[in-house]
């Protein structure tokens, strides 16, 4: 297994651990070398199949729910081995990773609603990934999203508390 693939697999596990657990979260967030860009879905499917085979993750069921995953105890152990104590605590206590926390802290610092483009350029997180992270943060009630055309992200009181504490 190459180092790149290993790194990607850990990222997949970490994402599923923090509830960014739909197939589209993975396809939007896993970056590939130029050769693999045209087959990102097929490549992510390969990753997922391997992780299921290795019993690191499980599918959430049959039918359309196959595209939602959950992490197993074995998968959690693999993530733990590859994360710093600080990040592990963040995931276990608040259910978010460093990218999620960075977005919360940015919103706290700027004290205004930001759109995905602004968040991406201020945090250096790829634009494709912002939608996935924000959906997870909204699911955990840390932010709300609004806007007729473009999305504007706003911190909730819980998000503000978490950004200050974490």
């Amino acid at each position: 297994m190459t180092k790149e693939v290993e790194k990607q697999k850990i990222k997949v596990l970490k994402m599923i651990y923090t509830n960014r657990n739909k197939f589209n979260d993975l396809t939007d967030s896993i970056s590939f070398s130029e050769e693999a860009r045209g087959i990102r879905l097929a490549k992510v499917k390969e990753f997922v199949d391997e992780l299921i085979k290795e019993q690191m993750i499980e599918s959430n069921g049959g039918g359309i729910n196959w595209y939602i995953f959950r992490i197993t105890e074995k998968g959690k152990r693999a993530v733990s081995e590859n994360l710093s104590a600080e990040e592990l605590e963040l995931i276990e206590k608040y259910g978010i990773d460093m990218d999620g926390l960075n977005i919360l802290k940015l919103l706290l610092r700027r004290r205004k609603n930001l759109n995905y483009d602004q968040i991406s350029s201020m945090t250096n997180i790829p634009l494709e990934e912002i939608a996935s992270i924000c959906e997870m943060l909204e699911g955990k009630k840390y932010i709300t999203r609004s806007g007729l055309f473009r999305v504007y992200v706003r911190l909730t009181p819980l998000g503000e508390k978490t950004a200050k504490e974490a």
Binding site: K22, F23, N24, D25, L26, T27, D28, E34, E35, R37, G38, I39, R40, L41, A42, V44, K45, G62, G63, I64, W66, Y67, I68, N115, Y116, D117, L127, E128, I130, A131, E135, E138, R145, G147, L148, F149, R150, V151
Partner: protein, 463 residues
């Protein structure tokens, strides 16, 4: 028939589209994902408006009025069939379009059915979208030609250039923002004419006018339209056509992929479907009054033109003309964007290494080249475009089954997927160009063949 009011209406509309599609969204299209799926930012209201603007097309709007003229409130089915399929879409295919993360149906299919399936599905989608785009251009050229007396090809060229520019500038963002504007213009046009008829003549005029209509025609959703039959205008046939068009189409998939969340997807498509169902009833009123005023004997899309000539009030005609213009453009821009996305995502990007920084420029070039080809097709082969478009829709039958398989059952291997793609398509092709197509819509045949193959594979697997 051109006059200053009509010209002004068209100019205001064109200016609004340029402002919205080029100036307003220029800064929004910053990355590949913004151009193709609006960075997955689109909310429910905008999704609903952009969705219904596809239904209110240059073909469907005159047809709604023509069908209502003939079948009364039974004519609403030309839009209701679309509305019902849109309502159901998020619960079957739409959720897969968002959850899979794929930009096109072909990309989603590849993950389970291999690269060859992706290439064939991509090619079939581009084929059907080309002709669908070309006939929209023919429609808008004819509208301009009819009202301003200019050459139809000049009209196609003018609209083609305007549209290509805004799609190339902002990609799906431009299409989305202009579609919202276009559905507003189209709704105002339809409402304007309905209000004019009801306030000028009153509802009773439908029974007491020069050509009174029967009470049967006033039963909403029933009228005098036939329900069972293998060819349009039977309701059964319309439902099947829209099932394939909406559930198998690349553009609807792209809309589903562009929303903020699965909840937004459901809200947006349900609202879009309901809006189409309500607008259909309003549009049908125009057809009913048209019958009373003009009497029987008119055919096809000419009904609307005759109604507008009879009305003869310049500002109202201008309003309706803009509605028709907007309806045509909103569909053509969506199909052009769908086509460009498939070409970029499933062919160029798949087989050629292109760095991220060059992606934007490449997508824009693809939009301009494809638009140019569609414009040339509309100018030099307008009648062939219509014929080949009809064939294009039936190609969605095997695509739809592959999508259902990838989303829910995942039982087809790459080889079986190829059989499912090729056999119904070849049978449909033979039937389309033979005498059988005069009595049976080949669309039915392709879906029946595709389902039979799929069921055989499913049972075979269990045995």
């Amino acid at each position: 028939m051109a006059n200053i009011e009509v010209l002004m209406a068209i100019l205001i509309y064109s200016l609004a589209i340029i402002l919205a599609g080029i100036v307003f969204v220029r800064k929004w299209a910053t990355r590949e994902s913004s151009l193709i799926v609006c960075g997955r930012e689109v909310g429910a209201f905008v999704t609903a408006a952009a969705q219904v603007s596809i239904c209110v097309s240059g073909g469907f709007l005159p047809l709604l009025i023509a069908y209502s003229y003939v079948f009364g409130f039974g004519g609403v089915w030309i839009w209701w069939a679309w509305g019902i399929m849109t309502l159901a879409y998020p619960f079957v295919i739409g959720i897969f379009s968002r959850r899979s993360g794929a930009y096109t149906p072909a990309e989603a299919i590849e993950a389970f059915h291999g690269t060859s399936s992706r290439v064939i599905v991509g090619a079939l989608l581009v084929y059907s979208l080309f002709f669908l785009t070309a006939i929209q251009y023919v429609g808008v050229g004819s509208v301009l030609s009819g009202f301003f007396g200019i050459d139809r090809n000049l009209g196609i060229l003018l609209v083609g250039i305007l549209m290509s520019l805004y799609i190339a500038t902002g990609g799906l963002w431009s299409v989305t923002v202009t579609d919202v504007l276009q559905i507003i213009f189209a709704t105002v046009g339809i409402l304007g004419l309905v209000i004019y008829f009801v306030s000028t003549f009153g509802w009773d005029y439908l029974f007491t006018g020069p050509h009174p209509i029967s009470p049967q025609k006033l039963v909403i959703g029933i009228g005098t339209i036939p329900f069972f039959g293998w060819k349009s205008p039977a309701v059964m046939s319309m439902l099947m056509f829209n099932l394939l068009l909406v559930w198998g189409g690349a553009y609807y998939w792209q809309r589903g992929a562009a929303v903020r969340s699965e909840k937004t997807l459901k809200l947006g498509f349900i609202a879009g479907g309901i809006a189409a169902i309500i607008l259909a009833v309003l549009g049908a009123i125009i057809g009913l009054y048209g019958y009373v005023l003009l009497g029987p004997g008119l055919k096809g899309v000419g009904v609307l033109g005759n109604i507008l000539t009879k009305v003869g009030i310049p500002w109202l005609v201008g309003l309706m003309l803009v509605a028709l213009f907007a309806a045509t453009m909103s569909t053509a821009d969506a199909t052009t964007m769908g086509m460009a996305t498939v070409v970029w995502n499933d062919f160029i990007k798949k087989f050629k290494k292109i760095p991220e920084d060059k992606a934007m420029r490449n997508i824009r070039v693809i939009v301009l080249v494809l638009s140019a080809i569609a414009i040339l097709l509309a100018i030099f082969a307008p009648y062939q475009a219509v014929r080949f478009y009809v064939f294009g829709t039936m190609l969605y039958s095997p695509i739809l089954l592959l999508l259902i398989d990838a989303a829910y059952l995942r039982i087809l291997t790459e080889k079986l997927a190829l059989i499912l793609l090729i056999v119904p398509t070849v049978i449909g092709l033979i039937v389309q160009f033979s005498y059988i197509s005069k009595t049976v819509d080949p669309t039915w045949l392709t879906i029946v063949v595709a389902v039979i193959i799929y069921v055989i594979v499913y049972i075979g697997r269990k045995v």
